[in-house]
């Protein structure tokens, strides 16, 4: 999946001369934590609600109001902006956010700002990926970390004519294993579980109670 598939396109921006107080109010009203800073069509910086609050004088200061009114975005914006391209992979963008310890990335194409990608967008995608997209049962299998395991499981699903609506592979408990999490569109996954077990793989879940296989 590409950044452009999950980014927010309707970006609220400020410019270097925007009064700080205006930006703070906008941040609160729209529940936005990051504003790209634009000079005309050009992205010249980024500012977070924390950057803005950090330069605010203490509210105990008797000159608070006049002090705040003298401040502008140019006084607190970061000029060194890390951006992504709309055609970057989501996982690369996520890795970049993690490495650089930033929580949003402006999306720039041909020198133009076309969107913004935030931690929330990434989390939302993750929730979608791991969530329940269709009525389905979950099966978790331990696979050896070598070719063929996933194909074996896929063959079993095909033979049983059962559709998988999500497939995730996690690192296993040891370097020799991986953990496969499937959501399969059937209310009765017993045969699939039996087939996977018979093929020599360990089904981690679901665990069985007293029920007899049909």
């Amino acid at each position: 999946m590409l950044v452009e598939q999950i980014m927010t396109r309707d970006v609220v921006t400020v410019n270097p001369h925007t009064p700080l107080i205006e930006a703070l109010q906008l941040s609160r009203a729209r529940r936005i934590r990051h504003f790209p800073v634009m000079q005309g069509q050009e992205l010249v910086g980024i500012v977070s609600d924390r950057d803005m609050r950090d330069i605010c004088p203490s509210i105990l200061d008797p000159n608070w109001e006049s002090a705040v009114r003298s401040l502008h975005i140019r006084d607190c914006m970061k000029r060194d902006v890390i951006t992504v391209h709309p055609w970057d992979f989501i996982e690369d963008a996520a890795a970049e956010m993690f490495r650089q310890r930033v929580s949003c990335l402006p999306v720039v194409q041909d020198g133009k700002l076309v969107g913004i990608l935030t931690e929330r967008d990434i989390l939302h995608t993750l929730i979608d990926m791991m969530g329940v997209l269709a009525p389905s049962s979950r099966i978790e299998v331990e696979l050896p970390n070598r070719p063929g395991g996933l194909a074996d499981v896929a063959d079993i699903l095909r033979a049983r004519k059962v559709n998988a609506c999500s497939v995730l592979v996690f690192p296993g408990d040891t370097p020799q294993t991986r953990r496969l999490v499937l959501r399969v569109q059937t209310m009765d996954p017993r045969h699939i579980i039996d087939d996977i077990t018979a093929a020599g793989y360990r089904v981690i879940g679901p665990l069985r109670t007293g029920g007899r296989a049909g």
Partner: protein, 391 residues
């Protein structure tokens, strides 16, 4: 003398079947019916024969395209194109899958079950009966546009939509099947006049995966869907505690005009499809509580339907016979009649239980019991706190 309770049944409902190997086996209804009759719990006055739901009635909750697809499937025709275009396939309608294979006359067989639950609702609203039980009903997974989880037409949804249209009544739906009552929940997700309550095993592993406590309804219906996802291996005590903590609060708070309960009994320890650890004691307790609430809150108006239950030999006949005894104000002995055992034991793959209530010690203790109970209590509290009835 007019009986206060009726049961909807005829041999024709046994035609809703997906084949020998399929876990949803109508033999369970025949065995249950036989057990009720062996005990003399059913007289002519109790029995009402179901009529098929009309297409117009089915269309209260199902799309015309889906009804058309079911009709074609059951009569050997080719699949229609799904709405919105694309290749004509059965799969787009959830038909012809492992779960819901196509069988001859599936429209007629499914419409008869929906008609049975409609008839039950009608008899109760007209005052013909105080309580009514559609043994073959309870197909709570069926969606507006597709079949799902062994369910073709959502008989409960059809009945609720009909009740809303004909009588404009407030309906409380109580679902204690081990699987989340997703179909009914989604059909009335935005309706504040239909309170859907589902107790079920968490969707962590189990089909359909939904039924999280955060599913609370939407728009005007926000707060009117309530879910209690139970930890795998939950036993009677924890489950019963939750029912007693939740149902009186919800039902008395909502003040429905009628209660519809879905009585799937697949949360039993022996059920092969789920991972809960209840015994038949739970399936005596649930109808008792629902019955009591119906009399306290809505003048006794109560429609019960069956549902899931895949240990057809050892669990379903006992559970639903106890349900009917409760619903029809009759008592039953502690022991299963020997004549019934003699008839069915030769066919059964396991020894049939001889008592209605599983004696203590029948099942091995669950090692994580305390942890499971604690987690369920947290779920109960969090789920109730999000309803409009929590004080």
């Amino acid at each position: 003398m007019k009986r206060r309770s009726v049961i909807i049944y005829s041999e024709d409902v046994l035609r809703y079947r997906f084949g020998e190997e399929h876990p949803f086996n109508p033999l369970r209804l025949r065995m249950t019916w036989d057990l009720m009759n062996e005990l003399g719990l059913v007289t002519e006055d109790h029995i009402r024969v179901p009529r098929p739901a009309s297409e117009e009635e089915l269309a209260l909750v199902h799309s015309p395209a889906y009804i058309e697809a079911v009709k074609r499937a059951g009569s050997g025709q080719a699949p229609p194109s799904p709405p919105g275009g694309g290749e004509p396939t059965w799969e787009a309608f959830g038909l012809g899958t492992e779960d819901t294979p196509i069988f001859p006359d599936m429209h007629e067989a499914s419409a008869l079950i929906a008609g049975g639950t409609l008839l039950a609702a009608q008899l109760v609203m007209e005052g013909e009966a105080e309580h009514a039980f559609n043994l073959a009903g309870g197909l709570h997974h069926a969606h507006r546009h597709m079949a799902s989880g062994f369910c073709v037409y959502n008989d409960i949804g059809v009945a609720i939509a009909w009740l809303r249209r004909e009588y404009n009544v407030r309906v409380a739906y109580i679902d204690t099947d081990a699987h989340h009552g997703d179909g009914v929940q989604w059909l009335f997700y935005e309706d504040p006049n239909v309170l859907t309550i589902s107790f079920h095993e968490t969707g962590k592993y189990l089909y359909p995966g939904t039924g999280d406590i955060h599913e609370r309804g939407d728009g005007p219906g926000y707060g009117y869907a309530v879910n209690f996802p139970l930890e795998p291996f939950t036993e009677d005590d924890s489950w019963i505690e939750m029912l007693h903590q939740a149902l009186p609060t919800l039902i008395k708070g909502f003040e429905p005009d009628i209660i519809i309960s879905q009585n799937g009994c697949d949360g039993h320890h022996w059920d092969p499809l789920t991972h809960l650890s209840a015994t038949t004691r739970l399936y005596r307790e649930i109808p008792r509580l629902v019955h009591q609430l119906a009399h306290e809150v809505c003048g006794g108006r109560w429609v019960a339907v069956g549902g899931g239950g895949y240990d057809i030999w050892r669990v379903v006949p006992r559970a639903w016979t106890m349900l009917w005894a409760e619903l029809s104000h009759q008592s039953i002995p502690d022991e299963i009649p020997t004549a019934w055992l003699a008839r069915w034991q030769p066919l059964a793959p396991d020894p049939l239980p001889v008592f209605f209530i599983d004696p203590p010690g029948t099942f091995p203790a669950i090692p994580r019991r305390q942890e499971i109970e604690n987690r369920n209590r947290i779920t109960l509290r969090r789920s109730l706190m999000g309803t409009p009835f929590f004080t």
